[in-house]
Structure formats: structure tokens, C-alpha cells
Symmetry: C2
Subunit: 394 residues, 2 copies
């Protein structure tokens, strides 16, 4: 009799985005005449850039001819793209990354959840609250103990030993950034306490502020303790074609119970070799062509479009006293619900009064209660219209 | 202190294909003047078909325009492709598959190894020997007990309870098929003994024989116990662009320790939702266009090319008394090493005498010792030349 992994029974069954989608469909069915504006969306909406499309065409041309056809990719991706990533995303910030420290794959979500496979059970991990639900669920499935960091500034030090700290900056869902000074404290803490940092910088391309980092390796000694997760989903609009990468520095050491030291890098490589086949050549070539033809400005143009929407929303909510921001560094606006009502009540309030969909903060953790997330991924026109609808009544 | 998953220490360190590649490079370096023929390759070499390339162009055109742009795929793939897979791969064989039973992803290797995540530890699994190494390694990582089936015909019944049986037909590495009668015995055994069958049919498109199955669901009641893994890697030459799918029937039930019944399908869906983002839209569209424009004959043409090579090799080794086959149903030829020498000795014998690379059978398990695998994935010209080189001396 094949028993299940009982940890799955501890997962929360009402998956946030499934419930939002259900409520959305119900509303559309009952309100044919009203135009719904969906600002809950955490997905890009602008088409791929010209140079990415050109990259796809070059790749498919290569795959259509025997002389240039290529088969299975290396499990950590092709060197032609590795070289460009290392040059553009790291060397330009004076960070050196070895070829073998870079693992290109199809999904950051997969890497950040599946990397736990190489660790022992019964880890103690620290997560921010509010938090991206994938970190929570992948740790529940492993049976790990989760400690929530309620205030990132006052987190250190902890009484309990922490095996892994997850940091997501710019943050999903709040859009917050971390100062270099505070991040350095985390790195120092990690070195001192034999803790590993998982640094998720999926939104680094949205950063406008100077006193934060695009990569955790801008902080001294971070290579001794930090794994960095990056994605082309939001940076290049690749959510449909899937591409991401993970940096696992050679310097990070893990321990076996028999007191052997084993590099995290070698274990991650073994995981990748055993269970994965690497990313799609076409997706690789799409971003390769952007880098190689020096067309990062095309990507930036799309990001600026989303940032403009986000800034408009943020300024509006600031004027209503529902938010206090000085700079925008992500596609997200995190607001306090009107009149201190709870997140789901505010969800229905927004839906029923303005035909606007957002994401209830409680879906991101206990500290999200009373908050609400809106995104800049809608069109400019819809964003303006949403603000006009809310302006007089909110 | 973050400890490792100690099971990783039990993995075999000398990865088969890495060692072959190393020996190959060494030989090339020391033998510039000789033309090496690599028949160890388990990867396609012919370009993508016209209709697949056309599908890539349609997809990239859709992604280049705002009106047709699409973002994150559903975690089990888009319905437009699901419909075609169900129609072409199942309904045409009188098998009905529900939309929710089909999970399209990027890799069969990933699905067949990661599905173990939803099961308890301490399973007992039965694997064929010789065997595709991924099944072995993914079970070692989970700490499962592995029983090897030395002769598939005499396997049943077992004294010990088996939680999962892995069956790969047409088989990698041997190319063997399973008769309908024997497969029915396995299905009946699984129903009687509360065992799950993982059926890997990555090579079904190569089948020439009548008395075997393309899908395990051709066997009565198989939907109660069998998960089927399919890949477009060899079928459509998609190793570079990544696409595969898994069928998890709704009827298969698992048990929790508190005696609840939980469907394997719902657990696999939760796994996919939590840790994955679905396949690339471009890869989906590539095969969609093949199905939708009714161009499966283009795929068959490529498969016939590989089958011709495989048949030539098989006939040659049959004439040398090193093999006994009646039909070819895979791209693989599995031979007995000359003069009963061991697999690695024969590897060097082939390399040094004929400049031909193959795969030592021992790399696929203890029963592979004394055997050797060659493939039909080379060019026709190389295959002929390899046979000519061997003909007089072998």
C-alpha cells in the first residue's frame, strides 16, 4: 500500500489565486454590462520585445537545419547564454561568477522549491511575513519548521538556530526594498550562525532606488552564504516561454551527519543532472539575442511602462492616506484597507463598488491581513480608469 | 547548521554518460586523423519538421503582438494542446482521457522523478535491470528500497509488497517490448496488490510489432493503477525545446496513515501547482501545429530514418551471432559483448579498433554487464561506415 507524504495534508487548501479567479468569473457572469479591471494580476501583459522575437527566429532557423540543429541542452544551460548573463548581470556590477556557479533552468519557482531536496528534513527556516506562498508550501511539504519574520529590521538576532533565511527584494507582495546596511547585517549573521540565505531577486529590474542591491553579491562575503534566484519572467516578459537562473557559489559548504563538508554547488548540480534536462534552447536564444545585440533598453522600456502604472496607483493611494512610499521599486502597490476592514471584505468592496480586482493581503500571510495588493501590469488606460473610478468614493 | 539529505551520498558518483564523454574527448585529442563515429548517443539528430517550425513561428508571432500575447501557462499546460493530445494519442486508440488527467510539462525525466515527492518515504519499488538510471537515482534520493526485476517474465508474484513498479517499454536500453498478455498480468497484479505502475512509453512511436501496446491504457483496468509518462523528445525530436506529458488517471487512490483515501491525481496537481509553472507556450504550439495540420507523417519520416539505421545495426550483429531479434521497436540495439568480455573492455575494444563509441551495458545495472548499447540516432552514412569498419574484424 503506497502511503502519501503526509505533509501535503498540512497545505492550505484554498489556494489564493484560484479563489480570486473563481470570484472574478462569478462577477463577470452576473455583471455582463460592467467592465472589470483586473489589477490582481502578477503576470506581464506587454508583448515580447523585437530582439527577443528575433532570437526565437534565429533559434528556430537553427533547429530547422541539420548543420545547426542541437539536441539536449546541458542540465545547467548552454555556455553561449551563460557568458552573456555573467557579463551583463554580474561583471557590469563588478561581481565575478564562475561558469559552474550559474544554473539556467525553466523556472525560478521550481528551483527555489526543489533545492530543498538536497537538504535534510527538519530544517528551521525563516520567512518574511507577508510572503510569496511558494516558500511556505515547499517547506510544509518537506516538514520543515517555519519561523516568520514580522519585521525585517528587528529580526536579528534570534534565539533559535535558523538553517535557511528566505529574502525577497524588491519584495513580493509589498514592493519593499532592503538597504545595503541591513542586508549586510543579514549576511554577517548568516556567516556567524552557519545559516544559508535564499535571495530571490525576481524584480531587480524594477529598482529605482540607489541604496539597495540588484544582486546580493554586491554585499561583501555574500558568496559564502547566499544563493540567488533570478527570473526572466518579469525582467524580459518571459512568463509564457519560461526561463530563469540560479547562482550557487562554490564557497557555500553543507555538512553531512558524519561531519563531511560538501559544497552546496556540487549537490545542486547532482540534483539538476538527475532530475532535470535544462532549459529550452529557444527561450535561451531569445534572451541571448537581447544581450548579444545590446538591446536591454527594449526590456527597460516595458519595465518603465509597468512602473508608470505602479507609480500612478501609488501616488493615488498616498493621496488617500492609505500608503506611505518614497520610491517605487517593483510592479506592486501594497495598501492598507480602507476603514481597517479585513482583506477579503476590501476585496469585495473594490469589486462591488468599482469593478476592480486586487489581491487580499491575508493570502500572503497573517501580517497581510488588513492589506491589499494591486499591480502595475494592467494597461495604462485601465490604470487611469481604475483611479478615476476610485477617486471620488474611496 | 544545515545538514544535507544523506541519501545523496548513496548515489553512484561516476555518472555513465559523463565518463563516456570524457573518454571520447581524450580519444579525439590523441587521434586527430581518425574519424570517430558516436553511436552512444541517446539524442535525436535530425532537424525539427516543417510543421513544428511553422508552429514556433505562429507562437512567436502571437507573443509579439499585444492582442494575442499570453503569459503564464496553466500548470498542466494549455487546453488547446490537451485537446489534440487526447484526440490523437488516445481517442484514436479508443482510450478516453479526461482533460484534468493530462499534465503537460517540460520533461518526462522531471515528472517521473519528482512524482515521488507526493509519496511517503520508505517505499519499496521494483525496477527492471538493466534500467534507465534516472529511476534508480530518484529512488535512492528518497531513501526507497529498490528491488530489481531480473527477468520481466518471471517476476510475478513477489513475496514482498511492492508499492511502485517501473516499466519502460519499448525498453531503454534493450529495445525490448512487452506482450499484451504479460502486461495484463502486471496490471492484474497491481490491482490485486495495491501497487502502482509507472509506465514510461517514451519510445512508443518506434513500435513496429503488433502484439504490444502504445499506451498501457490499452490494457483493461490499467486506469486503476497506472501512470503513463510520454515525451516529445524522441517522438518529435524536441530534446532541445523540451516538452512531455504525464497521464494520472482520476481512479488511482492513495492512502494516508489515518486511512483517508486521496486521489493520486489531486496530489500530483497540487505538486505541479506548488512547484512548477507549466511548459513553454512555444514548445506547446510547435507540436500543436503538427497535430492540428495533420502532419504526423513528417514525424514518422524522421522516426523511420532512425529505425532504418537501427535495423541495419541489428541485422549486422545478428549475422555475427551477438544478438537475437525478430523485430525492431526502438532506436536501440542491445548486443552481447564479443568473447564474453566485460562492458567497459568492449567499449575500449570498439573505440580502439573501429573508432566507434557505444554505451557499456553495465552503466544500466548489474544485468547489463557483458552487454553494449548502440543507437540508430547517427546518420545513415555513419551507420553504414560503422558496419563496414566492424564487418571484417568483429
Amino acid at each position: 500500500m503506497a502511503y502519501i507524504n503526509e505533509n501535503y495534508l498540512n497545505l492550505n487548501k484554498n489556494y489564493l489565486f484560484a479563489k480570486i479567479s473563481e470570484e472574478k468569473q462569478k462577477y463577470i457572469k452576473n455583471n455582463h454590462e460592467k467592465k472589470l479591471i483586473d489589477l490582481s494580476i502578477g503576470d506581464v501583459t506587454l508583448p515580447l520585445t523585437d530582439s527577443a522575437i528575433k532570437g526565437i527566429h534565429i533559434a528556430s532557423s537553427n533547429l530547422s537545419k541539420k548543420e545547426t540543429f542541437t539536441g539536449y541542452p546541458p542540465s545547467s544551460g548552454h555556455d553561449f547564454l551563460k557568458k552573456e548573463i555573467i557579463k551583463n548581470d554580474y561583471l557590469k556590477r563588478n561581481i565575478s561568477i564562475d561558469n559552474n556557479e550559474l544554473f539556467i533552468g525553466d523556472s525560478s519557482k521550481s528551483d527555489i522549491s526543489n533545492i530543498l531536496d538536497i537538504f535534510d528534513k527538519n530544517l528551521t527556516v525563516a520567512l518574511q511575513d507577508p510572503v510569496y506562498p511558494v516558500y511556505v508550501d515547499s517547506n510544509i511539504i518537506r516538514g520543515n519548521k517555519i519561523i516568520y519574520i514580522n519585521d525585517i529590521k528587528t529580526f536579528l538576532p534570534q534565539k533559535e538556530h535558523i538553517d535557511i533565511i528566505y529574502l525577497c527584494f524588491p519584495n513580493n507582495p509589498t514592493g519593499a526594498i532592503i538597504s545595503k546596511e541591513l542586508l549586510k547585517k543579514y549576511v554577517d549573521y548568516a556567516i556567524e550562525n552557519d545559516t544559508i540565505i535564499f535571495f530571490d531577486s525576481a524584480y531587480e529590474a524594477f529598482i529605482q532606488d540607489k541604496n539597495t542591491v540588484h544582486s546580493i553579491y554586491e554585499i561583501e562575503n555574500a558568496k559564502k552564504v547566499a544563493v540567488e534566484f533570478r527570473s526572466f519572467s518579469k525582467t524580459a516578459g518571459f512568463t509564457s516561454i519560461r526561463l530563469a537562473y540560479t547562482i550557487v557559489p562554490n564557497a557555500i559548504m553543507l555538512h553531512s551527519k558524519s561531519n563531511k563538508n560538501i559544497s552546496l554547488n556540487s549537490m545542486f548540480k547532482r540534483l539538476k543532472d538527475t532530475k532535470y534536462n535544462g532549459p529550452s534552447y529557444i527561450s535561451e536564444y531569445a534572451i541571448y539575442n537581447v544581450y548579444e545585440s545590446d538591446k536591454l533598453n527594449e526590456l527597460q522600456k516595458n519595465i518603465n511602462y509597468y512602473l508608470r502604472n505602479t507609480t500612478l496607483l501609488a501616488e493615488f493611494f498616498k493621496s488617500k492616506g492609505m500608503i506611505d512610499v518614497s520610491s517605487i521599486n517593483s510592479p506592486y502597490v501594497w495598501i492598507k484597507c480602507k476603514d481597517n476592514i479585513n482583506s477579503w471584505d476590501f476585496f469585495y468592496y473594490m469589486l462591488n463598488n468599482f469593478s476592480i480586482i486586487g489581491t487580499p493581503g491575508i493570502g500572503f500571510g497573517a501580517n497581510g491581513e488588513g492589506h491589499f495588493r494591486l499591480t502595475g501590469f494592467g494597461t495604462y488606460e485601465d490604470t487611469i480608469e481604475a483611479i478615476n473610478r476610485m477617486d471620488k468614493k474611496l
